[in-house]
Amino acid sequence: MSTSLRTKTMTLIQAITDGLDTMLAERQEVILMGEDIGKNGGVFRATDGLQEKYGETRVMDTPLSEAGFVGAGIGLAVNGFLPVIEIQFLGFIYPAYEQIMTHATRLRMRTMGHYTVPMVIRAPYGAGVRAPEIHCDSTEAIFTHMPGIKVVCPSSPYDAKGLLIAAIEDPDPVLFLEPMRMYRAAKEEVPDGKYKVEIGKANKLLEGDDVTVVCWGAMVQVALNAAMEMEEEGIHCEVIDLRTLYPIDKEMIAESIQKTGRMVIVHEAHATGGVGNDILAVINDTSFLYQKAPTERVTGFDTPVPYFGFEDHYLPNEIRIMHAIRKVTSF
């Protein structure tokens, strides 16, 4: 889908900056809003240098009020702009919950398409970086449960830029989750200029016949590590990076479970009400009789994400994933 043959080697956070830069240059309606995104370039430097390049009006430092600037973003989106709003950490999005739940996601429905909210909310999320309390939440399911917003979650630099551009051009609100553990974890070739990764499409990272492992965000690398280890035991895993958490890629999930008959779902969010349950529903609805074993879920616990002194115990790791894979393959 690339329109350019030239590439640069980038980290995930650099790919996000590049995606924002590409869209600011391409469309005058694109504006960035958020706390500390101007001179400071954002606490993770996602907007580094962009205010200097595009000015204070298009790259706007907002007051410290998530409900206020998400609400104002709705007004801007309805009135012709394409706001890309940075929430400093997903754990700080909750004051804006009401604006997202009662307005951003349902203005189209309320007005039968007369008013729409083409807005992107970017939020670093997840544990594993020794961050302070409340900075490590994975509450994506709060948003996948909301009708009227799409939720995407790239795990690689290429996907980050392509999904971000797709999100900005999407006519509806998109929550763009950035696994901060992956921000600088790896580099990858990223095309120059504009390209899109389609929202709603998962990505098969590893082919295998024995068991399907579905994961997203920072769990992708952990799942891949576990899959490599299982190769040594002669178990071939098919690893799927879900990439979009709503609407999930039903076809790829169904096709894979119908081939392997076994599934392990990995996410760092809490188990109850997690997106893993939506994947279980897809299996139930499409592939019930193909199952050779009950699906295992390897997830964060139904506890608040603990302070970082305990986070290694909270986060799914290779040991837990391998245990689950052995369980479904020996059922």
Partner: protein, 356 residues
């Protein structure tokens, strides 16, 4: 603090013009124009309550007593300005040019009622308290960024000023000098909670000080002060001077909604005496009587004209096609997701197709 924010008036409850600088501007034509609008929305409000009692619309939020605040502020707008009403400002929306049929459709549970006429920039009524205030700030900022001279007005009640979104919206708008007027109708009750239990401040206008923007306190039953102060605030907004907070002190005679009984939490004799003493329509009649130009026949004529318009809208609302179940699936996203498509197909199959 209350002395810094006196309630300003142009025409007092006796129909006397008390601000000499306005004496020449308050003439027969203006009074009659405003009177017509006040009567138009009062009759609508009474009709709507009656429709609710007969089960012809759903729960309804009446505004009788607050007509001057709604008419004065709405008439001050330019046609290309933005309006962000709450569930109690359909009077203002009607005066600003909303379709009466659609306003009734809204109260009858139909999303079609949230659609303004072509070219009219009216938001659907704000339901969660104060959340429309940041929207107005954002839409106004968008106008400023586009370099237009359009402004926005956001309506809200006294209780809304306790909400975070009120403060976040005013702060945001003041920081970026957004061309927006924050129009508060202080009817002194948030459902059942009187203002002295809602806030420690004696005025709402003084909350503007925290954002270093003008805070104006007016008699919300004096349509002229509401009109001229809103006009001034809009001019300031268009001139790049940023937002204004207007507190229009008023009173709703009736219930919060038709699902509420105000006699449970206040002595309704207050409402009855206010009808006789400070009513927004009565004072215009008094002015006309003082001038010797009041004619019962003219009042009957405009009432009949308004009633006819209202009856037509009611008939249009009732003749509107029944709800099409496909509509609940078709406007969630520009393109429905597979989940919504499947749910729609399954449901429509079950009920035997689209019903019209």
């Amino acid at each position: 603090m209350i002395n810094q924010f006196p309630i300003q008036q142009i025409m007092d409850a006796n129909g006397k013009v008390v601000s000499p600088e306005y004496e020449e501007r308050i003439n027969e034509n203006l009074v009659k124009d405003f009177y017509k609008q006040l009567v138009r929305i009062r009759l609508f409000d009474r009709k709507a309550i009656s429709l609710q009692r007969q089960g012809r619309i759903g729960t309804y939020a009446p505004f009788e007593g607050q007509e001057a605040s709604q008419v004065g502020s709405a008439l001050a707008l330019e046609p290309s300005d933005w309006m962000f009403p709450t569930y109690r400002e359909h009077g203002a929306a009607f005066v600003f040019g909303h379709s009466l049929r659609n306003i009734l459709l809204f109260w009858n549970g139909r999303n079609e009622g949230c659609i303004p006429p072509i070219g009219k920039k009216i938001f659907p009524p704000g339901i969660p308290i104060a959340t429309q205030i940041p929207h107005a700030a954002g839409a106004a900022l968008a106008e400023k960024m586009k370099g237009t001279s359009h402004a926005a007005i956001a309506y809200f009640g006294d209780g809304a000023t306790s909400e975070g979104d009120f403060h976040e919206g005013l702060n945001f708008a003041s920081v970026c000098k957004a061309p927006v007027v924050f129009f508060n109708q202080n009817n002194q009750y948030a459902i059942s909670v009187p203002i002295e239990k809602q806030m420690n401040t004696k005025t709402i206008a003084q909350k503007a000080i925290a954002y270093d923007i003008p805070g104006i306190r007016v008699d919300g039953n004096d349509v002229f002060i509401v009109y001229f102060e809103t006009l001034k605030a809009l001019e300031r907004a268009r001139d790049g001077e940023g937002p204004t907070l207007i507190e229009a002190v008023t009173w709703r005679y009736g219930a919060h909604t038709t699902a509420d009984d105000p006699s449970k939490y206040r002595n309704q004799s207050d409402s009855n005496s206010r009808r006789l003493e400070t009513d927004p329509i009565l004072r215009l009649e008094k002015w006309m009587k003082n001038e010797g130009i009041f004619k019962e026949e003219w009042v009957r004529e405009i009432e009949e004209e308004a009633s006819k318009e209202i009856e037509e809208a009611v008939a249009d609302m009732e003749a509107f096609p029944p709800a099409n179940p496909a509509d609940i699936f078709d406007h969630v996203f520009a393109e429905p997701t597979w989940q919504i498509k499947e749910q729609k197909e399954e449901y429509l199959r079950l009920i035997g197709g689209v019903r019209n």
